[in-house]
Symmetry: C2
Subunit: 192 residues, 2 copies
């Protein structure tokens, strides 16, 4: 393995460790030294890989937007599927992923958290570039015509739906009593 590959691997290890800690303890409460200790490596060395704590977060958010965009594509690539099944199917997949690849899950939670005020501006800005609220709103609008979703402002319904998902996923990352819920429960928010 070349040095370059090794370095890349180490970078990934740091990113994944940071992701876990950011979600578990929150960004401000995660100390660089916590991340370094968990990797493990010395605190100083971490700065050999990333310029700052904020860069670390920004990189993660960039990865997150990539991933989220891919998910969006997959959704578009399966036309003919009713909108409600698409949403519960998506949630089902997402929740199923949680078992083996918790990082996908954590990434999703981080993407939600990073939108809040007080989070570093750059990361925040990037996270807003994927707008699942609007795309889901479109989906809802279409579904309303077919009568599979309840009446109401699609944007509001979409916001309500995703905030609920966010709340549930945060609880899952933090509370071991919380089992994976049936996606159908959550999609019910949108049902007539």
């Amino acid at each position: 393995m070349t040095r370059k590959e090794q370095k890349e691997e180490r970078r990934q290890a740091i990113l994944m460790t940071a992701l876990t800690l950011f979600v578990e303890k929150g960004f401000p409460d995660t100390k660089i030294s916590d991340i370094a200790a968990a990797v493990p490596m010395s605190t100083g060395l971490l700065f050999h890989y990333f310029d700052s704590k904020e860069t670390l977060l920004t990189e993660l958010v960039k990865m997150g937007t990539e991933g989220t965009k891919k998910v969006g594509m997959t959704a578009k690539a399966s036309p003919g599927v009713p909108a409600d099944q698409m949403l519960s199917g998506f949630l089902g997949q997402l929740f199923a992923y949680a078992k083996d690849r918790p990082w996908v899950f954590n990434m999703f939670v981080l993407m939600g958290q990073v939108r809040r005020p007080g989070m570093p501006e750059e990361a925040r800005r990037i996270s807003f570039s994927v707008d699942s609220i609007s795309s889901t709103a479109k989906l809802i609008k279409a579904g309303q015509k077919e009568g599979i979703f309840r009446k109401g402002d699609p944007k509001q319904l979409s916001l309500c739906f995703w905030s609920a998902v966010q709340g549930i996923m945060e609880e899952m990352t933090v509370n071991e009593d919380m089992k994976i819920p049936d996606p159908e429960w959550i999609v019910s928010i949108l049902r007539p």
Copy 2:
């Protein structure tokens, strides 16, 4: 007005200011100096009223448990009301409150946030003393027998319901696009 009363009033002002900031910016990102500036008063003076930033949080959480317990009593005091109406009624009231008395709302959000790992231990411990999850689970169990709630582990349904509420309320405190949702949307999570 006696000095004692004045002091008490000042304490309340500090608490309410801190509550707003803790919810808006998060506990770690809220500096004592931010709170003092917002009250307004000098940073040093704040320590004349509260021993530490953590004490401030603890006091708020204590207030929160009081309030939440009262709500629980009111619920018990209205027997005969179907369980689903009780929940949507409660949410409706809570959301309505948000308009005039945002602090009630913020308090609710804070009580949820303070349960997360990384928050100061004492506050965390106190917040766990009110267990709306379990009481709602009982409510759900009863409702299931009458067929007004869907099948499934009551504890899981309750957790899912409250995490969704938490997510939605946090979004409301932070995103001005987010309007008050119809409580019925959220209670649908529990509907058969």
